[in-house]
């Protein structure tokens, strides 16, 4: 069943139930009330009948009769019976005579006054004591309300309900259709978009924040990301082939030139050295590519252990000191927490070192070995590492692409590198369920902020 008809059905059933409960409720309570009310009227009439039929004082009786006739409307099929009771035998006689139910008369005798009904005929009876004689006064009438008013009410209710049901059916079908209209439109449009025309977007019609425009926006966002991914893929291939072909071309060129004619041993050595250099460069690129690929996919077995972030930073620092003597890395550990457990994270030492070394190297490189400050601190559930340099920065327009492999900002041609470090670092941080954010301003510096969740260790 389609969602559309499901919604229509649910709406309809809900409405129908509510209307039914409402109608039946009204009918039931009114019915009950009409009984009570009618019994009261019959009882009053019985008392008055008793008074004017049995009262000795004729004057008083006359008055009652006047009241009775002037002010009380005559009920449908109203009859009054007054009879004396002296023994049980007369009770059944009376019952037979007046066609009254015997059980009713008995209960009147027993309880003093009582009410009852037999179908539409209602009875009210009272016991009346006069001059040591026992009288029973019984008034019977047909319940006009049940027979007439309630019937009208029932008809009205049924008619109303039928109308409401019709309206509900119409409305639920209309609404369910109307609600799903835009979704259908979106589905149709999305169907048209394929890899060929991925630049197409859905129209974002109304600016008001309803679910449909949200859905459209989400779809467009998804398409944007897909398109960027596509572009990245394309760029990656062209960049990678470029990066790989440059050293290859120089290797080929160098070898070619060396082979043209016979040369001295020194020349050969020089040529071989150049070739070796380029080959090493190639090797490095492929190695980092392999790393990048490995960190890009989860599921590969990477051994995670509990590591201390401050230790890793110390290690990375000494590593960089060995490689680059001119570096000017300052560790600012003033905000280290008092509890060293807060520095422990679950991670892979080598990968984390690699990530941090990449970032620190970038920072040193792009700032001409100006001071690079590394801050370390920990909040309640994250270790925070901030790396701040005073380097060339990244142009604002290009920040979006810095995580693309092989992307290099436009102001970096003076520096060596092939643009794998940062994506790699980010992948590694992501593997550790962390976040890497980067803010930068051209010629002011770049700040890299890394957050990694603290390891939850129950036992020490």
């Amino acid at each position: 069943m389609k969602t559309q008809s499901k919604i229509a059905l649910v709406l309809f059933i809900c409405n129908l139930t509510l209307v039914l409960i409402f109608g039946l409720g009204i009918y039931y309570f009114l019915n009950k009330y009409s009984f009570v009310d009618f019994y009261k009227r019959l009882e009053t009439r019985a008392i008055i009948t008793a008074k004017y039929n049995l009262e000795q004082d004729t004057l008083n009786a006359e008055a009652f009769k006047t009241i009775r006739e002037q002010y009380f409307e005559k009920l449908e099929q109203e009859r009054q019976y007054v009879f004396e009771v002296n023994a049980t035998s007369t009770l059944s006689q009376a019952a037979k005579k007046y066609q009254l139910p015997l059980y009713f008369l008995k209960s009147v005798l027993k309880e003093g006054k009582t009410t009852s009904n037999d179908g539409n005929t209602f009875y009210a009876g009272i016991k009346y004591n006069l001059n040591n004689k026992l009288y029973l006064v019984v008034v019977t009438a047909e319940n006009y309300y049940v027979s007439h008013h309630l019937r009208v009410l029932r008809n009205i209710l049924f008619g109303g309900m039928f109308l409401i049901v019709l309206i509900t059916i119409y409305l639920s079908i209309y609404f369910s259709k109307h609600i799903f209209d835009p979704i259908k439109q979106i589905t149709d449009k999305v169907k048209q978009i394929s890899t060929e025309n991925i630049h197409l977007r859905l129209e974002e019609k109304d600016t008001n924040n309803n679910e449909i425009s949200e859905l459209t926006a989400t779809f467009n966002d998804l398409l944007n990301r897909l398109e960027t991914a596509f572009e990245t893929q394309k760029n990656f291939i062209s960049n990678a082939s470029h990066e790989l072909s440059t050293p290859l071309t120089s290797i080929i060129g160098e070898a070619d030139v060396a082979l043209i004619k016979e040369r001295t041993v020194e020349d050969y050595q020089l040529a071989m050295q150049n070739i070796l250099q380029q080959a090493e460069r190639l090797d490095q690129i492929t190695k980092s590519l392999v790393f990048l690929a490995r960190t890009g996919y989860k599921g590969k077995k990477i051994i995670f252990e509990i590591v201390r972030t401050d230790e890793i930073i110390w290690e990375v620092k000494s590593l960089i000191d060995q490689l680059n003597h001119q570096n000017h890395i300052i560790l600012d550990l003033n905000l280290l927490p008092e509890d060293e457990k807060r520095l422990k994270i679950k991670g892979n030492r080598q990968l984390l070192q690699l990530a941090l070394a990449n970032i620190l190297n970038n920072a040193c490189k792009h700032s001409h070995n100006k001071p690079v400050i590394v801050y370390l601190a920990s909040s309640d559930n994250q270790v925070i590492i901030v790396i701040k340099d005073e380097g060339v920065g990244i142009p604002k327009e290009e920040i979006a692409y810095i995580y693309d492999p092989f992307f290099r900002a436009s102001n970096t041609h003076l520096f060596e590198g092939y643009g794998i470090g940062l994506p790699l670092a980010r992948n590694i941080i992501k593997l550790h369920e962390g976040q890497l954010t980067l803010t930068s301003e051209v010629n002011v510096g770049t700040t890299v902020q890394i957050k990694i969740p603290i390891a939850r260790i129950l036992k020490f």
Partner: protein
Amino acid sequence: MERNASFISLTATEYRLLLVLIKNKGRVLSRVDLLESAWDINFNMETNVVDVYINYLRKKIDTDVNNKLIHTVVGMGYVLKEI
């Protein structure tokens, strides 16, 4: 690391710091001394790092033990006392 036959795991930095303290047993070492000898280079770093690491070291070595090893000399630095 072992103290009273119970193992204590130290990080490299903590170990270096402890080593310096042991080598200079009984002598009061200033924060700058410690910084220079344990981290060999003089960073332009605040000496407060030493406090942090001494604190970590103390927590590991001196908790649950009656005779404390590392003592603070107010205004001077730290000293590792002989038992």
